[in-house]
Amino acid sequence: MALIEARGVTKRFGGLAAVAEVSFDLQDGEILGLIGPNGSGKTTLVNVITGALPYTGGDVRFRGDSLRGLPSYAIGRLGVSRTFQIVKPFRNLTVVENVMVGALFGAVGGARALADARHRAEEVLDFVALAHRADAQADDLNVPERKRMELARALAMRPTVLFLDEVMAGLNPSEIDAAVTLIKKIRDRGTTLVVIEHVMRAIRDLSDRILVLFHGEKLTEGPPQEVLNNPDVVSAYLGRRFVEQSRA
């Protein structure tokens, strides 16, 4: 049985189907790349699965149990966590306090006492190489640091499945390399990952499989090389003419 089984997930905003009949399986321990042009429904899909938006149709099962209709906090406690594309720091808290919240309220069996939570937060900050900023105000962090804090907060929840929504946006090439290494380390520690990203090099290096969304529908799914060379995927990103030119 797959860790997550999504079947016919649909989300409509009025007449617009932001996500239409998307089905996929997520295997335990894999990294699934989720790509697609802007507006193709990647973030909406994550929002629906993690309970931030209600379903229009379909269902998602986590270890066989339906997640549909559960509030987002309950899904977080079951072990399905996410980061936000537009980071949402707790601005008036320090970095370590931000991460403590994840430990205090995360997956069942988490660190419920403040001292334990602080300890775990410090460990996680060390893991994401942000320990030196532990006592800084979250508001004082720069963009790459904020992205790493966002990641640290989610990791402190000890998730089984983690959805990363564009954690590499705004990073420079060497920072992206560091992020790729970090994400692989997260997987090696036992967390299954779904990675939304526009940085193709990172997606190719990271993913065991890639799922492509286009206009809310699943365009294709498969191994990175195969998917990224698929003419439909190229035309979805760059337009039909580009495919014809590259063939000529």
Partner: protein
């Protein structure tokens, strides 16, 4: 944070002891002033739970104060309950009401929440005005007590309890949940916090202390009417005191109440016309000089013209 935990407790215990012994050496006027000060501080601390820690600016907390006052008053007079039962009943009813009304209106945010709470308080006043059991517009008269001392110690006790609850919130898992909700509710929910439950609990706690304060107020002042105990200005005072002292801190509301109650007492006896303008001045000064409150200024020992200039730019004055 760890090493400094003992110190506020010691200072707090010393202040409480001094206050507990104070009535013996003070004039009746000063005892009355202190009762009023304790009441305002307790109200500011109660508002701080929902407004300061949770970030939901309630403009209707006077409703809980009024419900506490009227419940205690009606039980004391019409039902002839002893005060020892009537007061907790008032507090608990205010708490239950806050919890119930909180479930729907805490779904609103920002200005919408503020307006909804304002509406709740105004509605409560009208309801009490039109009920028979509350005496309608003529109000309720309590049995008269000879000594002010019981009220002194009751208000002090409620203030201490409210402060301790704020202190507990500031250093507990529950408090981290509330602060996370204040900072970003979507992120808080994604991180496993049951925001609806936490907000409602915070609102109910806030209602409990406002209700208890109202109950003591009713018996102390011996006469209550709808205009008196459902005044919007009472909520505004809670907010200004908490904001002036420092929202979301434990000592902030205490500092705010102490400074503002003292100044407004002096003004209202010396310069009545200025007293009316006072609250407005305070809001302007706080925004310009110390948006995070007096407690923060004292803690960081920073108070500079450069900061004033920055705030002027930031708030586009």
């Amino acid at each position: 944070m760890k090493g400094s935990r003992g110190k506020p407790l010691v200072i707090g215990a010393a202040v409480v002891l001094a206050l507990a012994l104070a009535p013996a050496g003070l004039s009746p006027f000063l005892v009355q002033f202190l009762i009023n000060l304790f009441m305002l501080a307790a109200l500011a601390e109660s508002w701080n739970i929902i407004g300061g820690f949770t970030g939901y600016a309630s403009f209707g907390n006077v409703a809980f104060f009024g419900i506490g006052a009227y419940t205690t008053g009606v039980l004391l007079t019409a039902a002839e309950w002893p005060f020892a039962l009537a007061l907790p009943a008032g507090g608990l009813l205010a708490m239950a009401f806050a919890g119930l009304i909180g479930m729907p209106i805490l779904r609103l945010k920002g200005h919408y929440f503020a307006i909804a709470t304002l509406g709740v308080a105004e509605t409560m006043r009208e309801i009490v005005y039109n009920l028979k059991i509350t005496g309608g517009g003529t109000g309720l008269t309590m049995p008269i007590t000879r000594s002010a001392l019981p009220f002194f110690y009751l208000m002090l006790g409620i203030l201490i309890a409210a402060t301790l609850v704020n202190w507990w919130i500031s250093a507990s898992r529950f408090g981290y949940g509330l602060i996370a909700i204040r900072e970003d509710e979507d992120a808080a929910a994604a991180m496993g916090i049951n925001a609806a439950l936490y907000k409602t609990a915070a609102f109910a706690l806030s209602g409990l202390f406002a209700g208890l304060t109202g109950g003591v107020f009713a018996y102390w002042i011996t006469f209550i009417d709808p205009e008196g105990v459902f005044r919007v200005i009472v909520t505004i005072q809670m907010i200004i005191m908490a904001v002036f002292g420092g929202m979301g801190t434990v000592v902030g509301p205490l500092l705010g109440a102490l400074v503002l109650a003292t100044v407004s007492e002096v003004l209202s006896t010396q310069l009545v016309s200025l007293a009316e303008l006072f609250n407005g001045f305070i809001v302007i000064l706080v925004v310009l000089f110390m948006p995070k409150g007096l407690a923060e200024v004292i803690r960081k020992r920073e108070f500079s013209l450069r900061k004033l200039a920055r705030n002027l730019r930031e708030y586009r004055v």
